[in-house]
Amino acid sequence: MEIKKILIANRGEIALRVERACRERGIATVAVYSDVDRAGLHVLEADEAYRLGAAAATESYLRGDKILEIAKQTGADAIHPGYGFLSENADFADACERAGVKFIGPPASAMRALGSKTRARQAADAAGMPRTPGSTTGLASVEEALEVAEKIGYPVMLKAAAGGGGKGMRAIAKPEELPGAFESAKSEAERAFGSGEVYLEKLIEQPRHVEIQVLADEHGNCLYLGERECSVQRRHQKVIEEAPSAVVGAELRRRMGEAAVRLAQTAGYTNAGTVEFLLDKDGNFYFLEMNTRLQVEHPVTELVTGLDLVHLQIDVAEGKPLALRQEDVTLRGHAIECRVYAEDPENQFFPSPGKITRLLQPGGPGIREDCGVYEGWTVPMDYDPMLSKLIAYAPTREMAIARLLRALDEYVIGGIRSNLGLFRRILQDEDFRRAAIDTGYLDRLLSSGPARECEREPEVKLAAALGAAVLETRRTVSTNGASGGGPAERAWKLAARREATR
């Protein structure tokens, strides 16, 4: 089946990224948007665009019914869900199938088999792949929890089966802590996910987060496309991802890859997916969970494999058998991605939505930016605060780090705060540079105090003062300000507005 038109049920950079792939294939695109996204790039660059509703995701990007209706009305053959929103919603995938619209992702059955963490752990056992010791079904009582914990040994992790983002998760060092944690985790999970199912697993100390990209066609073929290391996390959210991992060699890669492929095949998985592992200090890996969609960090895999995952997703959705064999997949060079967020590192990473009044974007050799914003865009407060993904590719990890630092120097985001400075700090950190990272790395770095202020050179301070003065005088003398007006003009507007609203 040749796909002629795709509705993209998403927004921001990922919607634009899918649109670009579609245009490269001559596939028409249908964008959907909420009220605050009318001026979004994904609307600008689509062939068709339709309004979903108000800003809240529940009124817009989570409205599977409306989205499917638009797909039918516009004659879209397929829906690409991106990541987040409806991308792992098995009911939506089912509804698409019933409506005869191809959902670009795995079948609902595979999503369900892997969506619950306890069921995924059962699938892992069925596939004969290592996972953390612990339960594979929900815990019925505190007593059962204590029993399991005793068997696997403390410290243990209590986790919500439906979990995500660290909610309903508790690390437990000794038996006395378990009863209280059990109750609070259960009720937190109940509130967050509508399911209080929790289970126990052995806590792996200082693990690395290493994940395997898999790709399966609808004819039983499944490949692994190398690993990504995502150990740099803050509150269980990935901040920097890279490929390959500095500590994964060919043999470990093959073993993890083959395990991931077995899991996917056991669950009848198709299309792109990611199997997440914890990797301990001794090189043992443990199945963590499977993400049944394209991931935010897929570009690092694309850069080191030379493949295009969205094109491959569409190939698979069209029913084509994979044109690649496992031995055709080779890794070359090193890629690192920074998730650029509208958040203020100096203010507990609080989100910083608002208007981007100044944007200078980096470029040049080895730099890819998957970006969904532009100068003048107002970052809505209603969604994930990711602005852009800045990715560097270079022959070696060391050069990729240097290249990213160079690109960060070129990058200016004004009007809102961003975490660009955080990346500079990490990329210059000795531990990161020698790849001595684990999932606790970033929290340790941040709790070690604020970034050491490098002594600013007097000339730079002088240039800043003179630059500010020159800009101010230009603003003042110009009768016709620049777009948006200079500071002086804005101050005037601000005063006028206040007068008006008094």
């Binding site: 407060m381 969604y383 009007g415 600013r456 500010a468 020159v470 800009l471 777009s483």
Partner: protein
């Protein structure tokens, strides 16, 4: 033309004279410097000072009174300090012992109000909680005083810079 500004924690007095196209002669805190400034596009300056090249980018913050320039990778917040400038006058209202207005530092939604009108509050005490992008932030009192007026209620959507309460 004389410019007074507070930048990187220092007060600077800059006498600026435009000598030729793009060339300025400046006296900065008594020191004479020559600087050539080329504005590539609004807010983006190429500065040459004694052969050294600097990219100076003005950050335009729409709803706030804090300005900043980015020089290379560094960001310098600054304030104009010219007593005659409108901006300084605007800012003056916010200082001293008089009533102080609490403002939203970013757009969001008020989820909780932690103090009622008439309540006494101390500096740093939370007055309201705003939520944006699924994260919550307390808006704190800038001084010891009494909540004279509450200008927002739970559920209200607020814009950056919007007045939330007055502390007297």
């Amino acid at each position: 033309m004389k410019v007074y500004l507070e930048i990187a924690g220092e007060r600077r007095e800059i006498q600026l004279e435009r000598a030729a196209d793009g060339l300025y002669r400046a006296v900065l805190d008594g020191r004479a410097v020559e600087v050539h400034a080329e504005e590539l596009r609004p807010g983006v300056l190429s500065l040459l000072m004694d052969g050294r090249a600097y990219r100076v980018v003005a950050e335009e913050t729409v709803e706030s009174e804090d300005w900043a320039v980015h020089v290379g990778r560094e960001r310098f917040a600054y304030r104009m300090d010219d007593p005659r400038s409108l901006r300084s006058r605007l800012r003056a209202n916010e200082h001293g012992d008089g009533p102080r207005t609490l403002k939203a530092s970013m757009p969001g939604r008020v989820v909780r109000v932690l103090a009622a009108e008439g309540d006494a509050v101390t500096v740093g005490q939370g007055v309201l909680v705003i939520e944006a992008m699924k994260m919550q932030n307390e808006v704190k009192s800038p001084k010891d005083g009494v909540v004279a007026r509450l200008l927002a209620a739970p559920g209200d959507a607020v814009g950056a810079g919007q007045d939330l309460a007055v502390i007297e």
